[in-house]
Symmetry: C2
Subunit: 259 residues, 2 copies
């Protein structure tokens, strides 16, 4: 495998930092190639603004148009180009981050906002009577597999089917489906650690063992069965899921997982 790890935590000695380091050593020892985008260490520029498009920026700025034009012309900034190149190099992308306010930290969202440009991650492919662009199962990042490795401060019960925070699968759906599956990646079930606010060093050996096991079985792990957009499950262009495809009682985000 060629694995890119996108890491988003400010403290190298944190649990997240340790899990990132363990992923590097475990995968390299197993003979895989690994590259790391350590966003805090890189001092990643987090916000989209006109400086991303230099003298070519429109006035008024249009993020969609300007980012797509810069992508086509090869004039995106070097930091963004480097991340796109890493994504194209990799066959597996691991995102290591703490769940802050039920989603990713701002620095990682800013990586998505800036790297997933128009014409690279969206605005790809033709629109016709049977196709609404190449997205949700097709697109630039097709053939790659993505995995979220997430630390959660609170207990697992709060993220269960009836838990007050909402089910973890639903909380992660906008990332899994909306960010990773959208440009074509297959998405593996996440590696989630709960109650990390109360973890001590004594807990780490078990955590490390579980993480190593996930890392060493990535190639044989079945992705989440999200439905592809352009292969008959959805009406075009409304992109409503056709009636009757889901198991009885299924609704919400779960509609977009088959079986």
């Amino acid at each position: 495998m060629k694995t890119l790890i996108v890491h988003a935590h400010p403290e190298p000695k944190s649990l997240n930092g340790s899990l990132k380091d363990l992923a590097v050593s475990t995968l390299e020892t197993a003979g895989h190639e690994v590259r790391v985008s350590d966003l805090y260490a890189m001092n990643w520029k987090t916000v989209v603004d006109a400086t991303d498009y230099g003298a070519q920026a429109s006035n008024p700025l249009s993020v969609v148009r300007d980012s797509g034009r810069a992508f086509d012309a090869g004039t995106l900034t070097p930091d963004v180009l480097a991340e796109q190149e890493k994504l194209l190099w990799a066959d597996t992308i691991i995102f290591q981050f703490p769940l802050w306010w039920y989603t990713m930290p701002a620095i990682l969202k800013g990586w998505v906002d800036r790297v997933f440009t128009h014409r690279f991650a969206y605005g790809v492919g033709e629109h016709s009577d049977v196709k609404y662009g190449e997205r949700f199962g097709e697109g630039t990042l097709t053939g790659r597999r993505a995995l979220l490795s997430v630390t959660v401060g609170g207990p697992e019960s709060h993220y269960a089917a009836r838990g007050i925070n909402g089910p973890i699968d639903d909380l992660l759906f906008p990332i899994h489906h909306g960010i990773l599956y959208f440009p074509g990646m297959a998405v593996l079930p996440p590696f989630v650690l709960y109650s990390t606010d109360r973890m001590t060093g004594d807990d780490y050996p078990d955590v490390a063992k579980a993480w190593e096991q996930r890392l060493l079985t990535l190639e044989s792990t079945e992705p989440i069965a999200f439905r592809r957009q352009n292969f008959g499950d959805y009406e075009i262009p409304s992109l409503h899921l056709k009636e009757g495809l889901e198991p009885a009682g299924r609704s919400g985000f779960g509609l977009h997982v088959s079986g």
Copy 2:
């Protein structure tokens, strides 16, 4: 009303910029007080890191402990203190932003990550057999009302109950419930504009009229009926919703809305 508008768009001449300006003028004309946090114009520092706690930062850094300690000691950075003061001043908070990758732009997430510190927005109140801290309906920001004003590039059908992106209410749930309701705010139904990628100046008068109408009826708008945590609906400490409270067939995030 005393209204704080938190605005997150890089282009003042954008639709988002216009909606923010219209909110200011509409509310002020109606006799309300308005303050604006224009995050791009403020060059808002987006990422949490050790510099947020200066010489008091722990080594290794602990965001939870360090932010709570700085809050208690009054030593948070002036930019964060100013935002907390605005939130305490306001009775109504409007968030104006474009939906980027199915959630808020990084700069706004970074406002949440930095302003919603431990002891201010979480880690508030006692834990006992009948109470799991003051959150989800109680907390520091109780008595305030929050409203998301969101522009969405794609068409409304893609965000409908069977739409491929998932229902808009579910996509916004982690913000509505997890970020705004958590520290005590009541959350009004969002103001969402769709297909904004295809809007022209000709569409603006209708949009402006709809937005003005929402702004002028904020005080009489019923909040989303999220269930309060500590008032009998949830088991403590598992925070599972008690069986049988929901209408038949309700599941997922919808469990946490009553009625």
